[in-house]
Structures are given as C-alpha cells and as structure tokens.
C-alpha cells in the first residue's frame, strides 16, 4: 500500500449536480490553507450541468502531491446522496469514515422502470466490506426544517468539522464561509453549519 504522510487527510465529497458539493470542498480547502496546510483539490463533473454525478477530491496535509485521491485512499467519504455514496465504496480506506446524508435522488432510469434504487441494507453491506464507521445523517431533513435544503452542503461541512482529525478552528471556518457566501444568506448558513456540528456532537467513533 502507498505510504501515507503524517497529518494527511483525504476527503472525497460525492453527490448530485446542484447539491453544492464543489462549494463545500472549496470552503474547507480555503480554511485548511488558512491553517497553514498544503491543499489540493479537484472536482469531477463530467458533462453534468445539473443532475449528474459529482465528486470532489479534497486533500490536505504537510505536503500533498497527487490531485486525485486513489482508490482505497479516502479517510472520509462525505456523501450528499445515498446512491452516490455507494458508487464510491472502493475509495474508502480500511476503517475510514463514511458519512451519508439520508436522502435519495432517484436517477431517471428508475422513473423509467429500468433499474432499482439500492436498499439501505445493501448500502450498509457494501461499506461493511471496508469499515464499520458508517454514519447516516439527516442533513436534508434538518436543512428543510431550517428553511432551505440548499444549505445541505454547509450542514454537511459542520458535521464533518467535528469528525475530521484536521481541526480547523470555528473562527477559520466562519471566515471561509463568509468569503464564499453572499452576505444576505451568511447568517442562516452559519446556523446550518452549527446544526451540523450539533448533529455530530453525540457521535463517538
């Protein structure tokens, strides 16, 4: 296996076009840079405008070389949608952490009756091949309660902030959030971020 440098974090963010995945990884990347870490990130959207699979590879550490996380190399898989989570099962490293927003966006082939959406049990089983640190999060539900599901990305970041070994201070998180979000939606997004942090508070892994 490829040797891993100290203090290195590889986070793979996955979901569906339109869920704000790239913005989320930008925000964390900027905050990690402000903390003095080396950062590389790369997004893969294929031809997707909306509705296609999206992934973002976010790598942080003392010195980062490759822009891509390798298969079996992700420390954390942060999935905004369940089907997209399981698509990347081979990317999680043994014993890595899997965070899944408990939300399904069925692709068109399912509406057309050509395929079926995987069950929660199948999703769980897939990940158990590598790790039992699987966390289902009610991100879509909580942000809907807060008034807008478009804050899901910020909620997920809040959740992640409590579980990532890279400890970015709340000050740097908020600074990065304020640099990337329009002023008029900043406060409510900070609330979403904190709700994410609260949701992760009781997690013990």
């Amino acid at each position: 296996m490829i040797k891993k440098g100290d203090n290195k974090q590889d986070i793979l963010l996955v979901g569906v076009g339109g869920q704000g995945i790239i913005l989320a990884s930008d925000i964390m990347g900027e905050a990690a840079l402000a903390m003095g870490l080396d950062v590389k990130k790369t997004d893969t959207l294929g031809m997707a405008q909306r509705g296609g699979s999206v992934t973002s590879h976010l790598r942080m550490g003392q010195a980062v070389y490759a822009p891509l996380i390798s298969p079996q190399g992700a420390d954390i898989l942060l999935a905004f949608e369940k089907l997209e989570a399981v698509r990347w099962v081979n990317y999680i490293r043994p014993d890595g952490i899997v965070i899944i927003n408990n939300h399904a966006i069925p692709p068109l082939s399912i509406s057309l009756g050509m395929s079926v959406y995987p069950t929660d049990e199948a999703i769980n089983k897939s990940f158990l091949q590598r790790t039992n640190k699987i966390l289902m999060v009610e991100g879509s539900r909580e942000t809907a309660q807060l008034g807008d599901v478009r804050m899901l990305n910020i909620f997920m970041l809040g959740y992640l902030s409590k579980l990532s070994p890279i400890k970015i201070t709340d000050y740097l998180w908020k600074k990065s959030l304020s640099e990337r979000l329009p002023a008029k939606i900043l406060d409510i997004n900070i609330r979403a971020f904190e709700r994410g942090q609260e949701a992760a508070a009781s997690v013990n892994i």
């Binding site: 296996m1 490829i2 040797k3 569906v16 076009g17 339109g18 930008d26 900027e30 840079l33 080396d38 950062v39 590389k40 990130k41 790369t42 893969t44 959207l45 294929g46 031809m47 997707a48 405008q49 909306r50 509705g51 296609g52 699979s53 980062v64 070389y65 490759a66 822009p67 891509l68 390798s70 298969p71 079996q72 190399g73 089907l83 997209e84 399981v86 698509r87 099962v89 081979n90 043994p94 069925p106 692709p107 068109l108 082939s109 399912i110 509406s111 057309l112 009756g113 050509m114 395929s115 079926v116 959406y117 995987p118 069950t119 199948a122 999703i123 089983k125 897939s126 091949q129 599901v149």
Partner: protein, 603 residues
C-alpha cells in the same frame, strides 16, 4: 507585502501568470478543460480578450497580435488544436514577434470531450518547444518563461496542460511584484518572415530545425528540468501530472522531473539514467517521453507497465511498479464493489431545457421509442436519420429521447447529413446543431449543402449561449468576452444570405409549433433550416407556477416521462413533479404533451 498564498486552479494560475508577464491579447474558443483561462483573462480590463468564432480564428488572431509585437495567449482544448492546426503550423513556420504561447488543454479519461488525444505530438510535428506544468504553482511560474522562450527563439511555445492541472486547485505563491514588461507595438514589413511563399517558407524550415537544436541546449540547463535525489532505484523520469502520482507512489525514488517536454536534453538523460539502476518513465497517455528517450539510445521502461488509456492515479502507478518488480512486497488490499448493481446517473438535459421539445418531437416523428430497443443498435435503417453535433444537445442521444444517430466533431452534423443523403439512403436526413457550434463550424456545411443542392434539413437549436462549456457568449449573442455589447450575427439572415430558401424560426417551448415546423421542413424535397429558439434553462432565473400532476386525472400513461425531464419522477407507481427543479411557466412542455391534461400549474 507582495507575496501571498492562494488556492488557485491551473487555469486561473495561467491567466494570472500571463497577465503579470504582460500579455496584451488573448483569444480562445471555449472547451473543457481550457475555458476558464480566457474567462479569467477577460476580467483584466487592460488586456484585450476575445471569444473567437472557433480555434482556427483564435490562432490567427493570436498570430496577428504577435506579429504586431505584443505578448499573446491563445487557449483551447485538445481537439481545438485540430481545428487550429493549420494556422498553428503556419505560426511555427513564420515564428513570432511578440511572445506567442498556445495552451493545449488535453482531457485524459475523456471527462468532457469527444475523444482522447495526446497533443504533445503536435510539438514535434511543428518543431516548437513545449512546456508542461505539474500543478498550479508551476503553471504560474512557467508562463513567463514560455513568453521569454517564444521571443528569444522566435517560435510559438506550446504549453500543454491536462484536466487535472487545469481544473485542480493547489497553493500558489502569488508575487504581485512581478513587473509587466513594457511593450513596443508595431508591425514590421518583412516578406521573408511573414509571407510564406514557397521560396520564403523553404528558408524558414532550416531555422526551425536550428531553433530546436538550440533549445535542446537550453533544456540541458534550465531549472525546470531538475533532479530530485533519492534512492538509486528506481529512477523515475516524468513530466506533467504523472510526476505527482509517481512522487506519491514512490516517495523515496530518484526523479528527473521534466518541465520542458520537447525538445529533451540528451546529456541530462544519459547522466541521470547512468546514475540509477532502473529507469522508468511515468506519463499519462502515449509513450511520448519514453519513445523520445529510447530514440536517444537510452534504455528506459514505462508503458509495458503503465496504462496507456485514460487518467492515472497514484495507485495505478504504484501497481505498475509492483508489476515491474520495483516494489518488492505488495500489500494491496483487494478492490470491493457495491453489493448490488447500481443504476447510472448520466448527465441529462436540465428541467426547462429548450432542447427538450425538439428531441421529443424527433423521437416521436422517428418513432424511436417503438422501433429501437435499449441496446443502442439496430439493424434496420431508422425512418428518420438524425446526425448530431456537440453540445448539451448531444444528451438527446440518451434514453428516453434516443434522438441522435451520430456525433463526431464540432460542425460534422451537416457534412455527415449531406454525405448520408448523397449515398442514396431512402430515409430523410436531419442534422441537429447548436447555435455556438453552428457559428463555430456549421456555416461551411450549409454553404456546401446550398452549392451541391442537398435536400437535408438542418435544425439549429438556438439557446442563445454556449451552454455545454458554462454559458459563454458567442457571435450570435452580441456580447463580447469582456461584457461589451456589440453586433450580433443573425443566424436566420446568415442562412438566407447563403441561399437557403426554406427557413423557419420557432419557439422552442411550443411543442405543436416545433412539431409542425420540423414536419413541414422534412416533407419538402429541398434544403431547409429550422431554428428552434428558446433561452437556456440555467440562465432563466424567474421561476413561477411550477407544474404538478393531478393524481386524480393521471392514468399513468408515462408519456411525460419520455421528455427525459429530471423533475418528472415516478416513485411507487405515481408520477410527480419536483417543485424545486421544475421551471414552471418558462417551460410547460409536459403540460402540452399530457394526453389526459393532468398536468397544470401548482395551485
């Protein structure tokens, strides 16, 4: 403080590096993964930046600006250089005056392209130097050097990047104190240099060979080719993003890291390979370095172990090392797969897309749902042959629309349609092409159709933007790359001017009109153009009266699902429309086609 650290993409770094190097003219045609270079340069108001009609024109604009003495940047995706190859080869022959740097953004793994090609070969063919950065910092640092090389050696410089350099963000130390050199703009009459009559061109060719010989010497000592010391085996020779994967896979190896990919430094390579026990070349795509090094009589290995197609990653490079026996022990964990078959999530036309109704109509006119199975193949000729082109609308080839039979390269739909017609098929032939693509390279196809009395129909899907690559303006929108309102090219007048008699312009969201318009064009035995016009959904911000399904009236005939609109979903046997994605009054296509009138505005 003149230095600061920023997280920048390779494309942003190139733009900033070029700006600080004094670039004054930049020309490009959009294309993933190169687009953001020009988009960024366009924000510098003291630089002239343009979206050119196509890459060939961009290259010619760049060449003219260079002749006039200013530093110039031309950027495009890999296949763009195919379009621009003619002026590029000419630039290589005449040489330059102001520095001319040509960015080729290759797309290994075909994230968003019609094919995979390794444009490093162009450097050798054109006898021009080529640099390739491995991350954003190098993109930023190599650009000023590229301009210097261009001016000193009287040559365009090919600057090759790949998707993972263009689109990855990494840390760049930005130096605000880099001074922009003052430019002396003037064009000098110089027939021997600029007028490539055979007699003049013949005198330029030996100079091209001479400059490559001189650049070989430069490559021996330039700091962008450097050795990183490590263990004596393996020795890894690499350049481009391959370096980053190799460095991670083999942190203890000795490296020869090449920033200049062409020409190569023979002595440096000899010395390096003599120092290490086994030499490996790590590069994405073709064995370009490997073959160039072998020709020098230096034994190296590489593609015998490293995949040739697609992108690399650190694990793939590591695995290649294990196969080659440089990594003694393999502790690789086995791959795992999801425990069920996963449905794909291909990109789709957006809800409210102005292309949807046209494809729905083509699907029904061609009876495609009935006549074609899901395999994507058919032994019978379709009763309507639809040649396609490149843009968002290529997604009309996917299920459930299935309304496209070919896609090759930009503009090809029209020529292909003429060819299929002239081959003597019995079906009608219709070419489908977007507005930006039409202006890029569809016009010459129409000229051909008029001249050669073709009977095809050309459907121009005019959404008022270059959507696929992220909504750039183009000659038809009347707004420049720098946001200035200018004259818009009128596609309708243009095709009439060329000599097409049967021209219609139809509202893209009026399904009946689209249907009768296309039908009448197909029914006539003459060349016709149908312009289907409607704004791109992503640019439509107003959203009201989202549609919903009246469950009491809906009889589950599923006709609405055949639009391929992702807002229309079927769960537990019931069709519903997602209010967050429906575009409402801006679209209304599903409401028009529902046989039961079960769809209407949200009340």
């Amino acid at each position: 403080m003149t230095k600061s650290k920023k997280l920048l993409s390779g494309n942003e770094s190139i733009a900033l590096g070029a700006y600080q190097a004094g670039v004054q003219v930049a020309a490009a045609y959009p294309g993933t993964p190169s687009t953001e270079i020009l988009e960024t340069i366009a924000t510098y108001k003291d630089v002239y930046a343009e979206w050119s009609t196509n890459e060939k024109v961009a290259m010619e604009v760049g060449l003219g600006a260079s002749y006039a003495g200013v530093r110039t940047l031309v950027s495009m995706k890999h296949v763009g250089l195919n379009v621009a190859a003619d002026p590029f080869m000419a630039a290589a022959t005449t040489g330059v005056h102001g520095g001319l740097v040509v960015i080729s953004a290759d797309d290994p793994g075909i994230h968003s392209s019609q094919g995979e090609q390794d444009n490093r070969h162009f450097a050798r063919m054109a006898r021009v130097p080529m640099l390739e950065p491995t991350d954003s910092q190098e993109a930023y640092d190599f650009i000023p050097l590229a301009f210097e090389i261009s001016e000193k050696y009287d040559t365009p410089v090919l600057f090759r990047i790949t998707t993972r350099v263009a689109h990855s963000k990494s840390v760049v130390e930005v130096d605000e104190s880099r001074a922009r050199p003052p430019r002396d703009k003037h064009f000098q009459h110089n027939i021997e240099k600029y007028v490539m009559l055979p007699s003049n061109a013949r005198t330029r060719v030996p100079q091209m060979h001479k400059r490559i010989a001189e650049l070989m010497e430069f490559a021996e000592t330039t700091s962008i080719n450097r050795i990183i010391d490590g263990k004596d085996s393996p020795g890894i020779i690499t350049g481009g993003v391959g370096y980053q994967y190799a460095r991670e896979a083999f942190p203890d190896a000795t490296f020869l890291k090449l920033g200049m990919i062409y020409p190569l430094p023979p002595r440096l390579l000899h010395n390096f390979t003599a120092k290490v026990k086994r030499s490996f070349v790590v590069e994405e795509l073709d064995p370009f370095l490997e073959e160039s090094i072998k020709i020098l009589g230096i034994p190296v290995e590489g593609k015998a172990y490293i995949p040739r197609a697609g992108e690399l990653n650190s694990l793939a490079v590591y695995d290649a090392g294990v196969k080659a026996g440089i990594e003694a022990k393999t502790e690789r964990i086995t791959d795992v797969k999801a425990v069920t078959d996963l449905p794909g999530r291909p990109p789709l036309l957006c809800p409210g897309c102005p292309h949807s109704a046209a494809f729905f109509v083509l699907n029904t006119l061609g009876q495609r749902t009935k006549k074609l199975d899901v395999s994507g193949r058919s032994t019978n000729e379709t009763n309507l042959i639809i040649t396609g082109d490149i843009g968002c609308y290529t997604l009309g080839a996917y299920l459930p629309l299935r309304a496209m039979d070919t896609t090759a390269c930009m503009g090809a739909s029209i020529g292909q349609a003429i060819g299929i017609e002239k081959a003597g098929v019995s079906s009608k032939v219709i070419a489908v092409i977007g507005d930006s693509t039409f202006l890029h390279s569809g016009i010459t196809g129409i000229v051909d159709a008029v001249y050669n009395d073709s009977k095809i129909t050309v459907l121009v899907l005019d959404n008022g933007t270059t959507a696929m690559t992220g909504h750039q303006d183009h000659p038809g929108t009347g707004i420049t790359a720098q946001g200035i309102t200018t004259k818009a090219v009128d596609i309708e007048k243009l095709v009439r001017g060329i000599g097409v008699k049967d021209v219609q312009v139809i509202n893209a969201f009026d399904v009946k009109a689209v249907r009768s318009g296309i039908k009448s064009a197909l029914d006539k035995d003459e060349l016709s153009v149908v312009i289907v016009r409607g704004n791109c959904a992503v640019k439509n911000k107003r959203r009201k009266n989202q549609r919903q399904v009246n469950a009491g009236v809906c009889n589950n005939c599923d006709v609405c699902l055949r639009i391929g609109c992702s807002a229309i979903q079927k769960q537990d046997g019931k069709v519903h429309i997602d209010v967050y994605s429906c575009m409402g009054d801006e679209c209304g296509i599903c409401e028009q086609i529902c046989p039961k009138h079960a769809i209407g505005p949200l009340s």
